[in-house]
Each structure stands twice: as structure tokens, then as C-alpha cells.
Symmetry: C2
Subunit: 226 residues, 2 copies
């Protein structure tokens, strides 16, 4: 009938399985994972996982890269990451009304985490805003974020990065409800933060640990007090 509506239900249906949602949450930080890892993360048999992955691939939720006998899966694009985050955010809000509560993991996650391979949480949003305030970054048309000459210098000096012609993109942060920096530039900065030991991964979690060196750099260079 009235078919100019977006087909929400098809997409929602692709996510409406506990196993799938566990796999998707595992992929939310932006890494690519082989089918066997995803099956384990979701507590599924290899066949069942393969079936789910094939459907989500066909439905445009995932993309895949073949590497030898492994097949590495990832979220198809950042819009899918947004959907998952929005769902998690809404589902979580409901859980608060229910008996469940998880005080610690949540605070960690809000403070610093990776979202689709760039920095998110308070770390991500404050970094993005401080870089704009210092004139290192400026918003272009739409969601594009451009690095300024001063910004390129600063990245070189502070993080040892050769930022080249990397483009940035504003990405909505669901816990902070403001933009953080995504796109190739955001990914490069996230990579540099990890490489320089300013943050490190907590094994098995999406949250990041900001190291003492990281806190010091953020404080002295950008005036950020996490």
C-alpha cells in the first residue's frame, strides 16, 4: 500500500534474536571477527551462527572479508552501529526500571570506550569539543569535520601522528548525547591513543582504561579533566 515508508521491520527482524544481538554487540566496537569467534561470543553452534550471519549479511547489516579460511565479519556501516547503540540505550533504560542495575560497568563505559573503531564516551566527546575550542578542528558543512593546520601540527607534536589528508566526521555519542569524532581521522586518533599508551583496552570489555599518561596529556594539552 503506502510503500514510501522505510522498511523498519525488516531491519528490526534481522536483529531480533538473542544470539544475533550478542554477536552484534561484540562487533559494536568496530573490530572484525571471524565466524567462530562470533559463534562463541553468542553461545551458538557453528551452523546456527553461520545461518544468522548469512542472513544479516544478506540483509545489509554486516559486511564480510575473506581472509584465507577465515571469514571476518563487521557491521556494514556506522548507521548500523547507531541502531545497535540506540537499541542498547533504550533497552538499558528499561532495565533501570526493572530490578537490574549495573553501577560499575556502566560508569566505565560512559567514561571511555571505542565505538566502531574511534573514541567514544566522555573521552571522545570532550576530546572532540576541546579540539574545536583550541582551533584544531572545525565543523564543515553537515557532519564533516576538518582538521586545521594548527590541528595537524598539534597531532604531530602531541601524538606523533602524520594526519595527512584524513577526513573527520561527527558521530553521535549515545551515552553523552553529543558528537565525538569519527571517520578516518577519528580512527587514526584512536589508533594513536592506543599506540602511545594513552588508553588501553580492558580485555573482554568495550570500555577503555585511560592511563596516567593519557590523563596527563589531556589535562596539560587540552585542559580536559576526565
Amino acid at each position: 500500500m503506502n510503500d514510501d515508508l522505510p522498511d523498519i521491520s525488516r531491519l528490526a527482524g534481522l536483529l531480533a534474536d538473542p544470539g544475533r544481538s550478542r554477536m552484534l554487540l561484540a562487533l559494536l566496537e568496530g573490530r572484525m571477527l571471524p565466524a567462530s569467534d562470533l559463534a562463541r561470543a553468542a553461545n551458538l553452534s557453528a551452523q546456527a551462527a553461520s545461518n544468522h550471519l548469512a542472513r544479516m549479511l544478506d540483509g545489509g547489516v554486516l559486511r564480510v572479508e575473506n581472509r584465507g579460511r577465515y571469514r571476518y565479519y563487521a557491521l556494514a556501516n556506522s548507521q548500523m552501529a547507531h541502531v545497535i547503540e540506540a537499541l542498547a540505550c533504550a533497552a538499558h533504560g528499561q532495565d533501570v526500571l526493572r530490578p537490574t542495575l549495573r553501577p560499575k560497568g556502566d560508569a566505565e563505559l560512559r567514561l571511555a570506550r571505542t565505538c566502531y573503531r574511534h573514541l567514544a564516551g566522555q573521552l571522545g566527546t570532550q576530546l572532540c569539543e576541546a579540539m574545536q575550542a583550541h582551533g584544531y578542528l572545525q565543523r564543515d558543512t553537515g557532519s564533516a569535520m576538518m582538521l586545521t593546520v594548527a590541528g595537524a601540527d598539534w597531532l604531530q607534536q602531541a601524538l606523533g601522528m602524520d594526519s595527512g589528508q584524513l577526513a573527520g566526521k561527527a558521530c553521535l555519542d549515545w551515552s553523552e548525547r553529543r558528537d565525538h569524532l569519527a571517520g578516518p581521522l577519528g580512527e587514526a586518533i584512536c589508533h594513536a591513543f592506543l599506540a602511545q599508551g594513552l588508553v588501553c583496552r580492558r580485555p573482554g570489555r568495550r570500555s577503555l582504561q585511560v592511563t596516567a599518561a593519557g590523563l596527563r596529556l589531556l589535562q596539560t594539552q587540552l585542559g580536559i579533566q576526565l
Copy 2:
């Protein structure tokens, strides 16, 4: 097993039906609609619609208000609206890859629309940013937005609004990817825009028409060029 993950799949499952998604999209602009209207909007029988509505109500997706023999349904909270918008956004992105394309309705929708009873689209985001730039509005902790004294004066003078103690909240705009103003204050401003004839509804659509008077006011008072 590892059950500290948000239960995404349960929520997604509640949205994973074409009839339900049509009802939800009809509710996305924030109005409350009786079950019969929703049934008609979704091309469902009364029983089928009632069944769907009961499940979504139980699942925390919807809320309901009884008014005589009518039951008015609405989205339970703004997080649900975010989920629907994110899904629509992602599903739409896929449609672009597919043959479908809808050049006009989309531009309209991006320019100005209602999102959960407040102004969204370019109108919503630019208004929010201009009000901050003019010192009428300032971001408080988190997503809270406070009206300044100058802001209250301006609303009184320009829109004839008695803003009282209304609180604002930042709300993410999916088409613009930046914040617009929501909360009681956002709703009051939206109401005033409609009441003053600065925007008007397009029958049957979510998009809003900005009138000549609206364009003039935005230009002269806030320097916004839509």
C-alpha cells in the same frame, strides 16, 4: 550466561513486524493516537492491532492513556523515538542502494519536521544552535539545556511565549546529526511556532512547511538562512 548485556533482541523483536513499524512511524511525530487510527494506519484488523499494541505496551515501547472508550497510544519515551529514527535512517540508507529513491519527501523531511512533539531537521538544529550563539540557551550538565534570562525575554518578545520554568533537553537529530531542543521547553517552542503560523503541518506528512513569516523571523531575529 554473560547476562550483563542489554537485551537488544527483545526490543528489536517488538519492532520486527510491518504492521507495528507502520504504527510506530505514525506515532513518531509525538501525537497520541487511538487504537482504531493505528489499526487503519497499519492496514490491520482491530484485533490484530490490539494484540500488537498490547505487546508493545507490555514491552515498554508504548504508553497509553484511557480517555472514555478510546485508548490513546504514544511512544513510551524519547529513547524509543531515537530507536525508530535510527532504524528508519539505516533502512533508508539501504534503500538508496536499492532501486528505490525518493528525492522530494526526503529534502522536505530534512529541512523541518516534528520529532516527538518538538522541532527537528535543519530548522530544529539551527534554531537550537542560534539560540545558544545568541546567549538565549545554554547547555547545562549532561543533556540538560537551560533557558537564560535573555532567552526568556526573547521568547516573550518574538513568540509571545511565557516560558516560565520550562526545562530543555538536547535531543539528537538523525538527519542533521546534531542536537536540537527537546523537553518541555522544546515542545512549548514547537507549539508556539505552530500557533504563530511560523510553520504549519503538511497534512499526512511528518514534514513541516516553514511559512514566509517563519523564514523572516528566523532571518531577522537569529540570522538563520534555511
